[in-house]
């Protein structure tokens, strides 16, 4: 029976409705389906019937389409309609602790105590969502949040006849204007216009409809209205608002009769359901009520007193005092942070958190609860590097591993396995923290309950066991700008207190170890784990979808190590085997059988036998790999580095992700292992120069200084000719800068020629691990010109940079040229110039980071729901075309090599 009726309702519900009445019906239909499900008998028979007619009962779905949403003001009739109880007494509970009928905790407003049933809907705790109630106010009360609207309405309408203060013949014209504005430019523009109209009506002295004289109305904040030194009571205000006809109300931007202005003066106050202001039971058994309940209690109490006083015919002053008090309470009930009112406080003195405070600001409902979601089963600590981990592993401290759990369902096959976890309990590492009974009850495992739990456990139970090696976790570092900012790793439980990751995966996370913290999430369902593994694991993210190259590569020591190894290192075969064994290679058959093997041969062991590759090094030398052997060239950043070179890209193309990540891990460790055995360090002696070099550097600098001085002399004598588009002063500047920059570059070249190629600083620069020639030149030869905004330093004192120089000195030293090197040290003035540019660039980066971050965020938000269709078009969520061909060339960059498709390579591979 219920089912067939339900079907009817469902059909009705499919049709789109606007009126609330009909929506009510469909809501009823929904609740009826759930009832029907509970009633097993009914569903069974109904299911038979349904099957006969060929319809599965589960398929009955109710679709509703929201056509529009209207925001309006609750009127008294509506308040009464939605209310299921009238509140008359400030008492909460009777002597037995049972909620009082007609009190603020009335069980018709919903239940918050376990065991009780809601009197309105009959459901239990957590099922009943709560119901509104209302109180009847003894006197009308102004709603603070509508004060500004009330002011506008009073000022722009006649105090006598209630019409808007616009002459009859013009009203139509204004209406038309507002309508067209609404259509063409939107509501915002319309609101601005309305504000303008209302402001212009303030000065109207006589009503154009009934000729009544208008008086000046002012607002005494927050809720008192004054008309020519006389207070207007809320009763009077309400009466005036009532008088404004529906037609005129439109001109204020209010849609009558859906909203009537007099509703902004309250006669009834809705009481929110108890479920949104639950009381908490303290440990002492005492009840502590919610702030809102306290406030509502005050309101109800004062309201009762006001009623009694009015009925007893108390003097007007007493009534008015109580009235004002009620106004205060209701005002603070809505908003407890109004400037002119002292905030209502607890007995302890801390201000109450009422309706507005609940919604507003960072800790409010919207930003804290709705926009800010939080999860369980996650961890966060400082990160540190561990190159001995695989790239797709994450080191988890054992303290964390014993807090985070993975639920495992008990069945007859794993029961003994899982019992061992329970046996070890919560304090020994691979143990368990909870068991969950089939009915969903969670039981904590302690030393006392361990035995009982062990007895109790049987198929159907779930054990929440500790995190173990090989479990799946999602690792994340904010800001999560990328999809690579959240990747799936395998857990490796380790001693220590930091989360550990392979330094090679720092790049996609943009992490370093100067105190960075990262988050770890443990997926709790089988589906989530599979999804994380397939879609998010590190190896699936190898190729950047931004430029089609590997974003994970070797860094730092791993680069230097491989560079040294492949660029002419050799060792005995035994040493080589030792080295390879240390990085996890077990098959040495590919290592040539001879006494001494060279580095290239060792490196080649890692590369698959059928792999061939031709590429370039950083210095444009050829790298040839033929049939898995490195024949020519050496490894450096342009082949092994992150986001560069095609070596990794091609290996990925041919051998797929899992092999690539394995190989990358091995190459990485090989580099480090080489350095470990060889020794690697930076020394001050790396910046030592042979005598000739020092002389050459000095010469270059002296020459440059001479040239500059000559140039300045020419300028002072007026012999200078201006460059096109510049005046003479600018010309000198440009030419001086030219000479000095050239001088610095020349010294750099001297360094490049004379510096010891085998010094470790040079090795780092050449392999691309860290630093460059310029850094070395600054240490060994000359720091060079300090520039701010592309110019030599010129500000400071009048006509000079520092008081150490003469005015208008244009010489190199006086304008920030540092001819010393870092090794010997700088003169005080040089140091000061260096500090100036240092500070400038520091400020620049500090200011630019948040700016570009916000820029990116806006871009990402604007484009977040665009997608590429199967036909190659880029469309938005309503299938409108944004771009006819994705990227205009339809290229999937993640399947390309650096944004291009290498046709030659493909052909050579095919042939």
């Amino acid at each position: 029976m219920a089912e067939s009726k339900n079907k009817d309702e469902a059909v009705k519900a499919t049709a789109i409705k606007e009126e609330s009445k009909k929506i009510d019906e469909s809501v009823k239909a929904v609740s009826e389906t759930s009832e029907a499900k509970e009633d097993k008998e009914a569903t069974k028979t109904d299911a038979k019937k349904e099957k006969e007619s060929g319809i599965e009962p589960q398929e009955v779905a109710i679709y509703k389409q929201v056509k529009n949403i209207t925001f309006s003001v609750l009127g008294p009739t509506m308040i009464k309609d939605i209310a299921s109880a009238k509140i008359v007494t400030p008492e909460l509970y009777d002597k037995e602790g049972y909620p009082v009928d007609g009190g603020l905790m009335d069980i018709r407003l919903g239940v918050i105590d376990p065991g009780l049933r809601c009197k309105t809907c009959g459901s239990k705790l957590k099922e009943c969502i709560g119901h509104f109630g209302y109180i009847e106010l003894a006197r009308p009360i102004i709603h603070v949040k509508f004060v500004s609207v009330i002011v506008a309405l009073l000022k722009a309408s006649c105090r006598d006849c209630g019409r808007i203060l616009i002459p009859k013949n013009k009203i139509e014209k204004y209406k038309e204007m507002l309508d067209s504005l609404d259509k063409e430019k939107g509501v915002e523009e319309k609101r601005v216009k309305i504000r303008g109209i209302i402001a212009s009506l303030k000065t109207v002295a006589k009503c154009p409809h009934c000729n009544a004289k208008q008086k000046k109305i002012s607002l005494e904040k927050p809720t008192t209205f004054i008309e020519e030194d006389k207070r207007i009571s809320p009763i009077e205000i309400r009466a005036r608002l009532e008088k404004i006809p529906d037609d005129d109300v439109q001109l204020f931007g209010i849609v009558a009769p859906k909203v009537r202005p007099e509703w902004m003066v309250l006669t009834l106050l809705p009481i929110p359901p108890v479920t949104m202001r639950p009381s908490i039971t303290l440990e002492s058994g005492e009840r502590s009520e919610d702030d809102l309940t306290h406030k509502l209690g005050d309101i109800v109490r004062i309201n009762q007193r006001l009623f009694e006083n009015i009925n007893a015919g108390a003097p007007e002053i007493i009534v008015e005092d109580l009235w004002d008090l009620l106004q205060y309470h209701i005002t603070t009930y809505f908003d407890n942070a109004i400037a002119q009112l002292p905030p209502a406080r607890h007995r302890s003195g801390q201000p109450l958190k009422t309706l507005t405070e609940r919604i507003k600001s960072k800790e409010g409902r919207i930003r804290h609860n709705l926009a800010g979601k939080r999860t369980n089963f996650c961890a966060r600590t400082v990160i540190s590097p561990d190159p001995m981990l695989e790239l797709n592993e994450v080191g988890v401290p054992n303290v964390i591993a014993m807090k985070l759990t993975v639920p495992e369902r008990v069945n007859s096959w794993n029961i003994n396995y899982l019992k061992k976890f329970v046996e070890r309990g919560p304090k020994k590492h691979p143990g368990a923290n909870y068991i969950i009974r089939p009915d969903g009850k969670k039981k904590k495992i302690t030393d006392e309950t361990k035995e009982a739990s062990l007895e109790e456990i049987q198929p159907g139970y779930t054990v929440e066991r500790h995190l173990m090696d090989g479990d799946i976790a999602i690792f994340n570092r904010q800001p999560s700008l990328h999809r690579m900012s959240m990747m799936c790793h395998r857990v490796k439980v380790l001693p220590g207190k930091t989360l550990r990751l392979n330094p090679a995966v720092c790049h996609p996370y943009n992490a370093d170890f100067d105190g960075d913290e990262m988050n770890l999430h443990i997926p709790q369902t089988e589906e989530a784990r599979v999804e994380a593994e397939i879609l998010m694991e590190v190896q699936t993210q190898l190729i950047s979808l931004r430029y089609g190259l590997s974003i994970i590569g070797c860094v730092q020591d791993a680069l230097s190590g491989n560079y040294l190894l492949t660029k002419g290192m050799s060792m005995s075969r035994n040493e080589a085997i030792d080295l390879l064994a240390a990085i996890g290679v077990e098959d040495f058959s590919r290592l040539p059988r001879k006494e001494i093997v060279d580095g290239k041969e060792i490196f080649s062991v890692l590369i698959p036998e059928d792999f061939s590759f031709v590429g370039k090094t950083k210095t444009n030398e050829e790298v040839v790999i033929k049939n898995g052997k490195l024949i020519e060239g050496f490894m450096d950043r342009s082949n092994l580095g992150e986001g560069s070179g095609l070596l990794l890209r091609n290996i990925h193309q041919k051998y797929k992700k899992d092999f690539t990540i394995q190989l990358l891990g091995k190459i990485f460790r090989l580099g480090i292992e080489v350095l470990l055995r060889r020794g690697f360090t930076c020394a001050v002696s790396d910046t030592d120069l042979p005598e000739i070099a020092r002389i050459k550097v000095q010469e270059t600098l002296d020459n440059a200084k001479n040239d500059v001085n000559n140039l300045i002399n020419d300028f002072k004598e007026g012999k200078m000719e201006a460059l096109p588009g510049r005046d003479i002063e600018e010309t000198v500047e440009v030419r001086i800068l030219e000479i000095l920059n050239k001088a610095r570059n020349d010294t750099g070249e001297v360094i490049a020629n004379f510096a010891d190629k085998n010094s470790h600083t040079m090795i780092m620069a050449q392999s691309g691990a860290r630093g460059n020639l310029l850094n070395l030149a600054q240490m060994a030869a000359c720091v060079g010109q300090q520039a701010m905004r592309g110019k030599r330093i010129e500000k400071g004192f009048e006509g000079r940079t520092l008081s150490a120089y003469k005015k208008f000195d244009l010489g190199p030293d006086a304008r920030g040229f540092i001819s010393n090197r870092f090794k010997t040290g700088l003169t005080p003035t040089e140091f000061f110039f260096g500090a100036m540019t240092g500070r400038d660039s520091l400020m620049d980066t500090a200011l630019r980071t948040p700016k570009s971050g916000y820029l990116y965020r806006r871009l990402a938000n604007a484009m977040q729901d665009l997608n590429v269709g199967y036909d190659g078009t880029v469309r938005d969520s309503s299938h409108k075309i944004i771009q006819f061909e994705y990227g205009e060339d339809r290229m999937d960059v993640s399947k390309s090599e650096k944004g291009a498709i290498n046709v030659k390579r493909i052909i050579s591979m095919v042939i």
């Binding site: 036909d871 078009t873 469309r875 299938h879 409108k880 075309i881 944004i882 771009q883 006819f884 061909e885 990227g887 205009e888 060339d889 290229m891 944004g899």
Partner: protein, 80 residues
């Protein structure tokens, strides 16, 4: 009256042209769309003033593209 400056002849304005009815049909079929799913262009847009556009015309824009050399975009003319 001197010759007026013509925006559509400017070097930075990509070439706009009007689609014929058959081309229009072909386009809509190719992308399996109705006119509503196309991006729009104002009837009064200076770049198409010489094409005498009417609402529901489709304008083809040939833009230079750093990735594809030349890329075509289509926009439907709308009134105001």
């Amino acid at each position: 009256m001197k010759t007026k400056f013509k925006v559509d002849k400017h070097i930075l304005i990509p070439k706009h042209s009007k689609l014929s009815d058959s081309q229009k049909e072909k386009l809509l079929e190719k992308y399996n769309i109705s006119m509503n799913e196309l991006p729009r262009i104002l009837k009064t847009d200076a770049a198409i003033s010489s094409l005498e556009p009417k609402p529901n015309d489709i304008i083809k824009i040939a833009r230079k593209s750093p990735t594809a050399g030349e890329a075509f975009f289509y926009r439907v003319v709308v009134d105001v």
